[in-house]
Amino acid sequence: MHADPKGVLTGVHFLDGDHACCEGTLAAGARFSAGYPITPSTEVVERFASRIPTVGGIFIQMEDELAASIAIQGAVWGGAKAFTVTSGPGYSLMMEHIGYAAMTETPCVFVNVQRGGPSTGLPTLPAQADMMQARWGSHGDYGIVALCPSSPQECFDLTIEAFNLSEEFRVPVMMMLDECVGHMTEKVVIPKAEEIEITPRRFTKEPPEKFHVYEPKENQVPEMVQAGAGYRFHITGLTHDERGYPNMNIDAQDRLVRRLQDKLKPLANGRGLCETENLEDAEVVVVSYGITARVAQRALQLARRRGIRAGKFRLITAWPFPLERIRELAGRVKAFVVPELNLGQMVYEVERAAAGQAAVLSVTHAGGGVHDPEAILNAIVEAARL
């Protein structure tokens, strides 16, 4: 279906990433947000608070991130599309409810504008050090989707994608911005509503007496209902059976938890988003994401000028990680260079995918700024010499 024109600010704008992300939520059909202020993410909800009363929805500023991250899930079961926004310390507090969303298969979006950590860290400065937390931060096994925009335009586009994927797979989807992308102002083109594809919520067509709230349907994803529609369904964070009733035995746990991961397989195999350049003849491939991909672009240019056959693999869907594609590349390149604004996180996934077939060089940065392109270039040069 197409976007509801009420939320779509069609036109050419000059927006920062946070504001573009907010416009993405509105275009995607989000009409509820609960938030708690935290730098450098607050602009997303500030804009939402200003825009939503004329679009037809509610923003509520909650008492903390625990409240914000569960209020959105109440709203989803009430029938709304909903999201929350935060940064490092708040993201840590939201982990419990990322797990709840995964366990209860509540479609919702968490925007994390990453700053330096750990703890209070660098409130106003960038990092990409929450990438593993996004994947593994809540306890137990589960699956999520994480998208990494590199520009304000992508903050808009990918936010819509985030909502669409959350509805399709019924998982919490993470928008993993970083402070640079969040605060960078660029041209953002917002198309007409009829040009924006929206994935509708997969409401069941079964009558209440035949409906089981967690019966796996198409692609192992159960169908949604909303409160007040006569289904009298039950939702719990306990291990549950297809009726949604607590069922704490080994079989029920195995069936449920495996499905929570397995349902994302279509996205892991082929449908993940990435941007590639010059991979055909590449001997060295730079794998990066977010703001770092833009710094790496300069290093790639310099490397090509020096005659090094360097290629680009920009992760857009960071989770599920494109294991197969990196593994395929590993069979025909010398090395991967992985710059990140952290001390090495996604590089572990690259190593796992490469499985020894190609060398993997990590270019770390503790956060607070971006890499010097020279540092990435040096790693490319070193990799080419291997």
Partner: protein, 303 residues
């Protein structure tokens, strides 16, 4: 064979009027003999019956703990959420779907320790939620640890030499935070409790009922207070109905007087009314009423 078993013989066609309100396929429930939670659920059902509530439009939200299991037995849209977070979940649910009667049903540890911040803020906002707190003065599900409601001198598994921290006075806290309706009953007061519940179903805004309830397994036994029946005798003897009593004078103690009754019943605009009037004042005709349900032409929900 005990005398009780003869008395308890149930004819096959017996029908308990609470059955349509409960998920009978989940019985038996997990609560211990003598526990008061089931009694409160009976009162809740009676209140729903008497108020002729449309169960399709009632949602119940619980946190974690013994009382947190109530949502799992209620035959309506029911949500067993995370520890302490029933109120913010219910807040989102209510705002997205204001036609729902949203009831929060949880325990004292859940609502007032880990969830205490959410409780006071929802009361401050006068969110249209009906909060029922079963206060057994202890963390029961986890084995009898101290709660913020455990009275002084009681012993618990984490205060084996006696509790010395002052306890919260829940009704006073609720009033101070802004609740529109505040009452307290015990599980002895089944008629009054059911009537109070019926009353809050009709009242707008943040309504709070504290129900003092025995935990024979972990609180009564450890404190040598007898079984569930002993608790009823104590509640009967020690309770004084004092409607309108100043809540600050209604603190509970280990074995002292229990002041029960309706303490607060006041009218304040609720959150959604406040939101609307502020937006209309600021935005005039530009204000768009919230329409939050997903617009989806393909939805063919038959109801």
């Amino acid at each position: 064979m005990s005398e009780m078993e003869c008395v308890m013989e149930i004819p096959e066609d017996a029908f308990n009027p609470v059955e349509p309100f409960l998920r009978m396929d989940r019985m038996p429930h997990i609560w211990c003999a003598g526990c008061g939670i089931g009694t409160t659920v009976n009162c809740f059902v009676r209140a729903l019956l008497n108020s002729k509530a449309d169960l399709d439009k009632v949602a119940i939200v619980s946190g974690i703990g013994c009382t947190g299991r109530v949502a799992g037995y209620a035959q309506m849209d029911s949500f067993h959420t995370t520890h302490g977070r029933a109120i913010p979940f219910a807040t989102g649910l209510k705002l997205a779907n204001p036609e729902l009667q949203v009831v929060v049903y949880s325990g004292d540890g859940d609502l007032f320790a880990i969830g205490g911040n959410h409780f006071i803020h929802a009361a401050r906002r006068n969110m249209d939620l009906k909060v029922i707190c079963v206060n057994n003065m202890i963390y029961a599900m986890t084995g009898g640890q101290s709660a913020p409601t455990t009275p002084g001198h009681a012993t618990t598994s984490t205060a084996p030499y006696g509790v010395f921290e002052p306890a919260f006075n829940l009704v006073s806290l609720a009033e101070a935070a802004g609740a529109s309706y505040v009452a307290r009953w015990t599980t002895y007061h089944v008629m009054q409790l059911a009537r109070s519940m019926e009353e809050i179903f009709k009242k707008k805004g943040f309504c709070f009922i504290e129900v003092l309830s025995p935990c024979p397994t972990l609180y009564q036994r450890r404190n040598k207070m007898g079984d569930g029946l002993e608790a009823m005798k104590y509640y009967k003897k020690a309770s004084k109905i004092r409607h309108g009593a100043p809540t600050s004078e209604c603190a509970l103690t280990k074995d002292g007087e229990i002041v029960v009754g309706k303490f607060v019943d006041r009218d304040r605009p609720d959150y959604l009314e406040l939101l609307r009037s502020q937006m209309v004042e600021s935005l005039g005709e530009r204000y768009a009423e919230p329409e939050m349900a997903c617009e989806d032409a393909e939805v063919t929900c038959s109801l």
